[in-house]
């Protein structure tokens, strides 16, 4: 008996399979749908859903699913169909002229055509208003019901899946979860209800960096730092920089993401193109005036120039045009740092101003904390924190949007010019002090603790982190005027790069992260390829970079 039953079941299922064969729906069904009888499809679904309850095999249960998805896809096309259906009729006469046989309804058309030599489309039978209405209304319906439909579909899908997994029997257990979820870790930018409550914790938390990364030996950094790679001890290139001001407090060089190196020489700004080596003068100011600081916007098309006449200027470099002049400071502008559309400028007065460059009233905040000249100013890579170093020997850490410092570090014994945020751990800052101090310190800016201090025996004028290696480089003054590469986190010296005959004033990292350029008081710029990446490894790096995009692509259906 049981095998008979199985047979009938099997037949039933096959039958339902037949009905669901893809392809155009029967005409009567389409018609019914055009007239807005959509409930039909729902009936159909539930009807088929019941069938699956027979539970012969997981396969039979799967069919209704494909059916329901199919319905979802079909609905828009049925909305358009009234317009389209007419098209064969329109084409038919044309075919007849050429002497083709028209199957079926070829009886009338030849008569009509006998009187004309041209094809004149007959649209009297097409109801444009109605078809337009149908298209529009079906689109509207889709918009409003999209969410409901989806959740309904998901629910159905889930139930079906559960049944399939359980050999067609409804599950014995329920899966429950607490509706109020735990606050999410790390990403503080997400505004959730809990966010307000826990912003104190979350604001310091580095985004997207798992501290466990150190455990993975396959990761690029761990193997790199231990290897003894070759670091060329001579610069790759030396550029002349006549009239480069020997002033510790200024920032006269910056390298853009478009591979343009801007250098301020006295009153002139020159752009050196890293790709082809051409040099273009951008602007020139008359003698008592001089350039105090330069900073490229992240996109690399706008250069901010801090001037000795207390103004900050924005230049469009491609068109060599001054876009904007922003006043507000009472003394020369010695440091600049961009955070998307916010340009922060620090002046000799010790004041820091955030300029919103989109806004006519560009001053969005003024930070009065330092009593002396600001000589270092850097936004963190995630844009959440600003670090400022002053001639008053203080380092202050500011949260984005706040006007009181989060932390003030007074451990340095001299002006702090070198500031650099760690590219792989967003809350780590390196700072270097001047002649009286000679130390490099690493700070955890979430907790406000000093992680590491190392004495360099020389003035620290600039600091940079490598993006490829777990290393940082510092530029020094008397007595060796060298660049020193340090290993993170131990701060052990990797190597010294000597060559400059005057103190190093400023350093920049090339956009590919491989080359460091140093500007020194001997009026030269030297390019050191100290963080070269193997071609092989570069490939694998690129693959890694592609990953988030492909992950996103996978979620798009």
């Amino acid at each position: 008996m049981s095998h008979m039953e199985f047979n009938t079941n099997l037949k039933d299922t096959l039958k339902s399979d037949n009905e669901l064969k893809t392809g155009p729906l029967p005409r009567w069904q389409r018609r019914a749908r055009e007239q807005g009888l959509t409930p039909l499809s729902i009936n159909e679904k539930s009807f088929l859903g019941n069938k699956s309850g027979l539970g012969i095999s997981p396969r039979s249960a799967r069919t209704p699913l494909s059916g329901s998805f199919l319905d979802g896809k079909k609905s828009p096309s049925t909305g358009i169909s009234p317009g389209r259906e007419k098209s064969p009729a329109r084409l038919m006469p044309k075919l007849a002229v050429r002497g083709h046989r028209t199957p079926g309804g070829g009886n009338k058309t030849p008569n009509k055509l006998a009187c004309g030599d041209r094809f004149i489309p007959n649209r009297s039978a097409t109801d444009y208003e109605r078809s337009h209405h149908l298209i529009m209304s079906s689109m509207d319906r889709k918009d409003t019901n999209a969410d409901d439909e989806q959740s309904l579909q998901q629910k159905e899908y889930r139930e079906k899946m559960l049944q399939n997994l359980n050999d067609g029997v409804p599950p014995e257990t329920r899966v429950l979860s607490f509706k109020a979820k735990a606050p999410q870790g790390k990403d503080g930018s997400k505004s959730s209800q809990n966010f307000q409550l826990f912003c104190n914790v979350m604001i310091f938390i580095s985004a997207h960096i798992n501290n466990l990364k150190v455990l993975f030996s396959t990761g690029k950094s761990a193997t790199k730092s231990s290897s003894s790679r070759h670091i060329p001890s001579v610069p790759e290139k030396i550029l002349d920089a006549p009239e480069l001001l020997n002033d510790y407090y200024l920032h006269l060089m910056d390298w853009s993401s478009n591979n343009h190196l801007a250098v301020g020489l006295g009153g002139c700004v020159f752009i050196w193109n890293g790709g082809d080596g051409t040099i273009t003068p951008l602007t020139q100011y008359e003698d008592p005036e001089y350039i105090c600081s330069l900073s490229w916007i992240k996109e690399g098309n706008v250069l901010a120039i801090g001037r000795s006449n207390k103004n900050t200027e924005l230049w469009d470099v491609a068109q060599q045009k001054l876009i904007r002049t922003m006043a507000g400071h009472t003394d020369r502008i010695t440091s600049l740092s961009w955070n998307s559309f916010i340009l922060s400028s620090g002046s000799r007065s010790g004041q820091i101003i955030h300029h919103d460059v989109r806004n006519p009233n560009h001053i969005s905040a003024t930070l009065n904390h330092h009593s002396q000249e600001i000589c270092g100013l850097k936004w963190s890579n995630d844009g959440r924190m600003l670090a400022a170093g002053g001639n008053d020997n203080l380092v202050s850490i500011w949260e984005n949007g706040s006007t009181t410092p989060l932390f003030t570090f007074s451990d340095h014994q001299a002006a702090v010019k070198g500031l650099a945020w760690c590219p792989f751990q967003n809350n780590i800052l390196a700072s270097g002090g001047g002649t009286n101090d000679r130390t490099i310190r690493l700070w955890n800016c979430s907790l406000g603790t000093n992680l590491k201090t190392v004495n360099t025996n020389s003035q620290v004028s600039s600091l940079l982190w490598s993006t490829h290696y777990r290393e940082l480089i510092s530029g020094h003054g008397f007595s060796q005027n060298q660049l020193t590469i340090w290993k993170y986190p131990t701060l052990t010296k990797v190597t010294d790069l000597t060559g400059h005959t005057g103190r190093v004033l400023e350093m920049c990292l090339s956009p590919d992260g491989q080359t460091v350029v140093s500007a020194a008081a001997d009026e030269t710029l030297r390019l050191w390829k100290c963080w070269a990446v193997d071609k092989k490894e570069k490939k694998s790096l690129n693959i890694g970079k592609d990953h988030p995009i492909s992950a996103l692509a996978r979620t798009i259906r």
């Binding site: 599950p171 257990t173 607490f178 109020a180 979820k181 735990a182 870790g185 790390k186």
Partner: protein, 208 residues
């Protein structure tokens, strides 16, 4: 706390529920710390089961765990719960990355239907139970060595498998099981309080 058991090595249903939910608390905290779901700065440590275990100091997480585990303890005592699953998912696209599955079984004599289960007690040394728990905790810590790096912002969720016809409080809702397709799974040690037996298993997405 577990003082009442210490006196005479007997484990009652209530005591066992307490022990198991306590284990879940430390286990979940440990996973959150070891897998880097929350930053290590937000954890403090404590001696438990003869190990140093890390506990979150984040008020939100603490509150969440306490409410959820209090409810789970009730269900444990009622014998209504068959599984507790900790799901770690990518916060951006909600893709499940890891699934820590704690399967709860009732030892003989303490099944849900038994009448005398509330009054009955079983014999097992607390030290022995804690030793078993310690081994599981150790394994959780050791899992970091083979589990893939969670290189994105992650969130976690607790799923509870209960009996079909259970009265569910309003704060709880049905959820998907959050399975991982083509997952690799590793079974860890199990422990038993002689009332409840808990098997631990972690499944994770293979990074190809």
């Amino acid at each position: 706390m577990p003082d009442n058991q210490e006196q005479s090595n007997c484990v009652t249903l209530k005591g066992s529920g307490q022990l198991v939910s306590e284990f879940f608390f430390y286990g979940i905290n440990s996973i959150l710390y070891q897998r880097g779901i929350y930053p290590p700065e937000s954890f403090t440590y404590k001696q438990q089961y003869g190990l140093t275990v890390f506990l979150t100091t984040d008020e939100g997480v603490k509150k969440y765990l306490n409410t959820v585990l209090a409810q789970i303890k009730d269900w444990l005592e009622a014998g209504q719960i068959s599984r507790l699953v900790l799901v770690i998912s990518n916060a951006d696209n909600k893709e499940t990355l890891e699934r820590w599955d704690f399967r709860i079984q009732h030892e003989k004599g303490f099944e849900a239907g038994q009448k005398d289960r509330n009054t009955k007690s079983a014999e097992k040394d607390l030290k022995e139970i804690q030793k078993e728990m310690r081994e599981v905790m150790r394994q959780i810590t050791a899992c970091v060595t083979f589990l893939p790096l969670l290189d994105c912002t992650c969130s976690f969720d607790l799923l509870v498998y209960t009996h079909k016809n259970l009265d569910v409080p309003d704060e709880w809702g049905d959820s998907a099981a959050c399975y991982i397709a083509d997952a690799e799974s590793v079974r860890l040690k199990s422990f038993s309080t002689s009332v409840h037996k808990v098997d631990t298993c972690v499944s994770y997405k293979l990074n190809l």
